[in-house]
Amino acid sequence: MTDLRFPIGEFVFQETASFADVEIWISKIESFPNRLMNLVDGLSEKQVNWIYRPDGWSIKQVVHHCSDSHMNSFIRFKLALTEKDAVIRPYFEDRWAELSDSLSDDLSDSIALITALHRKWVKFLRQLKVDELGVEFVHPEHNSRVSLLENISFYAWHCDHHLAHIQQALDNKGKF
């Protein structure tokens, strides 16, 4: 049985990535706002409150989370390139998802942010040079180092991962 938490599987970084792979990842980030709109445009208040698994987030929380998460990610890219060994700050994404604006049925402001952010983010990613893709930041929770290359790959997965959650919520029509 598919794990309802990971409809497309967990993230795996392919260390032998080629330039073609990088372009595929960036294209996924680029097309995310449109793919998101195709899924959520015109949904009713009832539908945006459908959850994607038992005890999981609702569609609206997934959308607001993508706005939070992708902005945080973009800030991390900038920190990594402007500070030596930048130590990034994890955040409690579950608590962010419980803030009252993350529970708003109106998705339009978050979608506007995602659309604007992704346009800027993709433009930024496409001009990175090879040595910049190798720049790493430090994740304090597991004291691991993450290269910008791996982080691009992660967020391409993150886009697909959450779109699959929304699709799953829609397919199941809130039965959880």
């Binding site: 902005m71 900038k78 962010w96 009252s100 402001d109 942010l113």
Partner: protein, 153 residues
Amino acid sequence: MNPLVESLQKTLEAYLPLFDLPDEELSFGYREGGWNVRQILHHMADSESVLYYRIRRVLCEDNQVIWGFDQDAWVEKMDQKHLDLSLNKELFHANRLLIIDLIKRYYSSSSERSFVHSETGLRTLKDEFDKVGSHAESHLQQIYLALKNKIND
């Protein structure tokens, strides 16, 4: 209405058309060696994104330490080099609407929450909310000054 919300709506309207100024005017500085209008506008998109993210962080975690960022490097080494100003116009606009919404929801109820800023020390959330307004206002005055003084570096 909360005067801060009113002020942020007003400065939003004042800022948006500035992103569409002709290149020549965007290149004017307000003083020798200071940022030009283009740099200030790129900085506004950066800084308000970071302010928004900080405020959410403080709302969700007690006694946060918040770190500053290298504002000059973000503008001078990054956005200004490769980024069309229209992209930051769109982001500034979307982010500002989210901040206004957040203020309406949390300004009165959570303004006493405190945190430590790595450069400026102990602060409350009210300080940080108010800073969004005063920061936008002071850079707006710099832009008006630049358009008047027309300093070309």
